[in-house]
């Protein structure tokens, strides 16, 4: 459990730096819902970030608890008046939400302000998840000549890989990124590769009957597993 919350916290700090993947972000958001401690960590990280930007207001007031309480205390509109009161109470709730929204926007802006070497400071103060090594060696083989005029939409993401082009023997599968972030030992790596290879083989068998590209799907399989039963 401690291991898990550690991992979540790391992801949280990665989110602060805009480095978390979509998968991670969803996980954290789900966790934030249930974990009060995590919520306060989220709060602290933002405070720390604001402090480093020297953009803290002179007095910090945490309205979130009071707003929650106010919403909880709100009388459920009842009986005969309910119809008239309902719109009113909606306004009241809307107002409190607006307060939260204003605070939220401010904080987001603070977190996103570029400049003054703040990124490094944050990185050294907070437990930032180490970045998966990113290079483009996945595609740095022989330069292919692209047929002219192949038009694709502009890039949004990039494909990362830790595969080294200098590896003597290309590994069957390259592990790009791992959660948790510690490098797995050799044995685990081999196990992961074996597992991924078997998944890939099955995928290939399915793909070959779904994709009509002839031999191509099988060509993707590493030689040593292509003929394994």
């Amino acid at each position: 459990m401690g291991d898990k919350s550690m991992r979540i916290q790391e992801t949280l700090s990665a989110m602060m730096d805009n480095e978390a993947t979509e998968l991670d972000t969803r996980r954290v958001l789900r966790e934030l819902d249930e974990d009060g401690e995590l919520r306060s960590a989220w709060h602290r990280y933002h405070l720390a970030s604001s402090a480093m930007h020297r953009e803290l207001p002179p007095r910090i007031v945490d309205l979130s608890a009071r707003i929650s309480a106010a919403i909880a205390d709100e009388q459920a509109p009842s009986s005969t008046f309910s119809r008239f009161l309902q719109p009113l109470s909606k306004v009241a709730v809307a107002a409190t939400v607006a307060a939260v929204a204003v605070l939220g926007v401010q904080q987001l802006q603070l977190a996103g302000v570029p400049g003054t070497g703040s990124a490094q400071q944050v990185a050294s103060t907070l437990p930032v998840a180490p970045q998966a090594e990113r290079d483009s060696s996945a595609t740095s083989g022989p330069q292919f000549q692209l047929p002219a005029g192949f038009d694709l939409p502009p890039v949004a993401g990039r494909v990362a890989s830790t595969e080294s082009k200098y590896a003597v023997e290309p590994r069957p599968v390259t592990i790009m990124q791992q959660v948790p972030q510690a490098q797995p030992d050799r044995e685990t790596q081999l196990e992961i590769q074996a597992y991924l290879n078997s998944m890939m083989k099955r995928h290939t068998e399915k793909a070959s009957s779904s994709a009509s590209q002839g031999m191509l799907p099988y060509a993707r399989l590493p030689q040593e597993i292509n003929n394994a039963p």
Partner: protein
């Protein structure tokens, strides 16, 4: 033959031979304005036709050849024999580099698959499930002809309309429809893999064919246990892929004897699989991996009191695999 010529031959058919001078003048006006329309129209028909032929070629042709496959600086070359008997395609592989190795298999085409070929269904609107056409998700461009493995080919660029899938450059044999070259490109226009025949022949000597058949008939290659066909589109035993890239539909599903369930999704060209593994493997961490064009995203999900290792594996951008994985749910909530 160049694209311009198709349009002209198309129009030739409609050229009036015995009309009055006036009509001829009108007609020439039409001819002047028509090529734009004619070219586009005949092109897309041509591309659909070529892709359709490509899809059936692999199920119907006997051939023998040598191809290379390369990614990230890795190059392998394989000598392959492909023989079709009674609708079943038999393959024999012989690796020309590295350890001396062979592989034999027959295509389990159709086993556990949604009826009809996926690509064919995508380009042919009248075929089963053909409403969601390839055209909605890729731009199909015929880029003239070229030469691969000493044979004339059609060059086809397949450009994705979004960033959820990869693009392709195909070179398709003009005579037989066999795919002779394929490049797979990411959204950065980087080539992630190249598959290409060096040499191919469409006459397989009978003794070679018989040898391949005999080797395959003598043993192995288990047939998978298919899931009941009443499984709904993206659900399997309580699992749900709540998000799929548009155009991807279930292509097949199966469950093996260890209880690992598989869903395969395809948009007609790109394919990814999702594996739900309830068995052991507790020590494996969640990872993301890549080899050439294939990515894998492994995550753990607690469901029904078991710890599942769920893997999304396929030739799609890593962001797509990640998003698919992020939306996999157990139960209906």
């Amino acid at each position: 033959m160049r694209p311009r010529q198709w349009c002209c031959s198309l129009l030739d058919r409609y050229r009036p031979t015995s009309l009055a001078k006036q009509a001829v003048t009108l007609m020439s006006l039409f001819l002047l304005s028509a090529p734009v329309w004619g070219e586009g129209q005949s092109q897309s028909v041509m591309v659909d036709d070529i892709l359709g032929r490509m899809s059936s070629a692999n199920r119907e042709l006997d051939y023998q050849g040598i191809f290379t496959y390369e990614y990230a600086g890795v190059l392998k070359s394989v000598k392959v024999t492909h023989v079709v008997r009674d609708g079943i395609a038999y393959q024999h592989w012989y690796y020309l580099n590295g350890p001396r190795q062979e592989a034999v298999r027959f295509s389990a085409d159709g086993a556990c698959s949604v009826p009809g070929d996926n690509l064919e269904r995508s380009v042919n609107p009248t075929a089963v499930g053909g409403s969601d056409r390839l055209n909605n998700h890729y731009e199909l461009q015929l880029r003239g002809s070229g030469r691969v493995a000493d044979r004339s080919v059609w060059l086809i660029h397949i450009v994705p309309r979004d960033m959820l899938r990869y693009g392709y450059v195909f070179a398709v044999d003009q005579q037989t429809g066999l795919l002779l070259q394929s490049l797979l490109l990411d959204s950065d226009k980087r080539v992630l893999e190249r598959f290409q025949y060096m040499d191919v022949s469409f006459a397989v000597a009978p003794d070679v064919a018989e040898a391949v058949l005999a080797r395959i008939e003598s043993g192995e290659v288990a047939t998978p246990q298919c899931l009941a066909s009443e499984q709904s589109a993206n659900t399997i035993q309580g699992w749900q892929a709540a998000w799929l890239p548009p155009g991807f539909a279930l292509a097949s599903s199966e469950k093996d004897d260890r209880g690992v369930e598989t869903l395969v999704f395809s948009d007609g060209l790109s394919v990814f699989s999702i594996f739900f593994d309830p068995t052991g493997n507790q020590q494996l961490p969640e990872v993301q991996a890549q080899r050439g064009a294939t990515v894998a995203q492994m995550i753990r999900i607690e469901a029904a009191g078991r710890n599942y290792l769920v893997s999304v594996v396929g030739e799609v951008p890593v962001e797509t695999a990640q998003r698919v994985a992020g939306f996999i749910k157990y139960g209906s909530d």
